[in-house]
Amino acid sequence: MIEFTLWDIVRNLLLAARWTILLSAVAFAGGTIVGLLILFMRISKRRWVQRFAEYYIGLFQGTPLLMQLFLLFFGLPLLGLRIEPWTAAVLGLTLCASAFLAEIWRGGVQAVPLGQWDAGSSLGLHYLKQLRLIILPQAFAMTRAPTVGFLVQLIKSTALTSIIGFEELVRTSNAINNATFEPFKVYGFVALIYFALCFPLTRYAKMLELRALKH
């Protein structure tokens, strides 16, 4: 029987939190890239491309993230791909984040006055340049607060990857709890660590929101 001091518990939890942070960062970066693709499809002029993006977003927003993770974790090996918890976790969170981010940014793109597109084309810019130079910068500026808000949601969502066996904060805390039998303390600390990660971002999102209202 190993004795766990309070410091042992906290230290191990903090070490595990690194994986939570890494997973959040990778999934947010991946979600941004895929989300941009989905955004372009969502605002495309071709009906069927638009429809596809709409269904993609609806599918990820209308099913539990836990099911999405399970489907990847059990589904991809059927296609002959060897998959580990880390791969399934990154892939699942990336796809899910891309749907949410695309939907947030679409709101921003639609809020840009149509005259801005016209102004762009009267300057002789083609579609992609209009997007890159005129529309997207304004759309991103408008949606900064909900984007940061979604990052908070994403950090909390990484907790679900413990269920498919990824060794992040919650899975480590389950193991520590099984060794120490001090669930109150262990899960209390876990909650505090998540709070320390998320609360500053929440405040930042709130600040961005207030600043946007002032303009």
């Binding site: 539990p64 836990l66 489907l71 059990f74 589904g75 899960y187 909650a191 998540y194 609360f199 929440t202």
Partner: protein, 222 residues
């Protein structure tokens, strides 16, 4: 590629999936009703004259909104027994879902209350209604109408998030899926079907809420 999808197990599993879905619906129904009632109290309390009450509610909202639901669930189910509070899994799930839901809807209801023009309250007071009557009959119905879409989304999100309560052995949809796949060794097919059931539930729940909102709220504001 030797793997062939097989849905032959499905005919025997329909009743299990149905009972799991019924549990999921029960959980979200109870926690949505409790959550909305509590969040009306919470939003009103956040606008009260007592600073300690305002601060306590604000702290609760921030604490819940900045920690994962899974951790809240584990804290309630595994952590509280060390304080001598031992809960049945279903009760723990409903408690965790209600507490989680209330934190989000308190903000939503609050935004709705702020959106009702001040003149409405003043007019009602001038007509001789008591403050409580003003709140229940004048301000609240108008606020609910404004926030109805946001409340609907929040209820659907909570329903999807309830998949997590399978982790404390509540026999809802995900838990039944876990049992089924362990028995049939058809994990992908099982979770695929159950994902479709969740999709149908979220579309159906949204339709139902929007329809009932149209029916009761547009005529209800008088």
């Amino acid at each position: 590629m030797g793997y062939v999808l097989d849905f032959g197990w499905l005919s025997d599993a329909v009743s299990l999936i149905a009972s799991g879905a019924a549990m999921t619906i029960f959980l979200i129904a109870v926690s949505a009703v409790a959550g909305i009632v509590l969040s009306i109290l919470g939003a009103a309390g956040r606008r009260s004259r007592h600073a300690w009450l305002r601060r306590a509610i604000a702290g609760y909202v921030e604490l819940i909104r900045n920690t994962p639901f899974l951790v809240q669930l584990f804290f309630i189910y595994f952590g509280l027994p060390s304080l001598g509070i031992r809960l049945d899994p279903v009760v723990a799930a409903i408690l965790a879902m209600t507490l989680n839901m209330t934190a989000y809807t308190t903000e939503i209801v609050g935004a709705g209350l702020d959106a009702v023009p001040k003149g409405q309250k003043e007019a009602a007071l001038a007509l001789g209604l008591r403050p409580r009557q003003v709140f229940i009959k004048i301000v609240l119905p108008q606020a609910l109408k404004v926030i109805f879409p946001a409340l609907t989304s929040q209820i659907v999100i909570m329903m999807l998030e309830s998949a997590v309560v399978s982790q404390i052995a509540v026999r809802e949809l995900t838990y039944e899926a876990d049992l089924l796949q362990a028995r049939t060794f058809r994990a992908f097919e099982t979770y695929f079907i159950v994902t479709l059931v969740y999709l149908a539930l979220s579309i159906g729940l949204r339709r139902l809420l929007v329809a009932s909102g149209n029916r009761f709220l547009s005529g209800g504001v008088s």
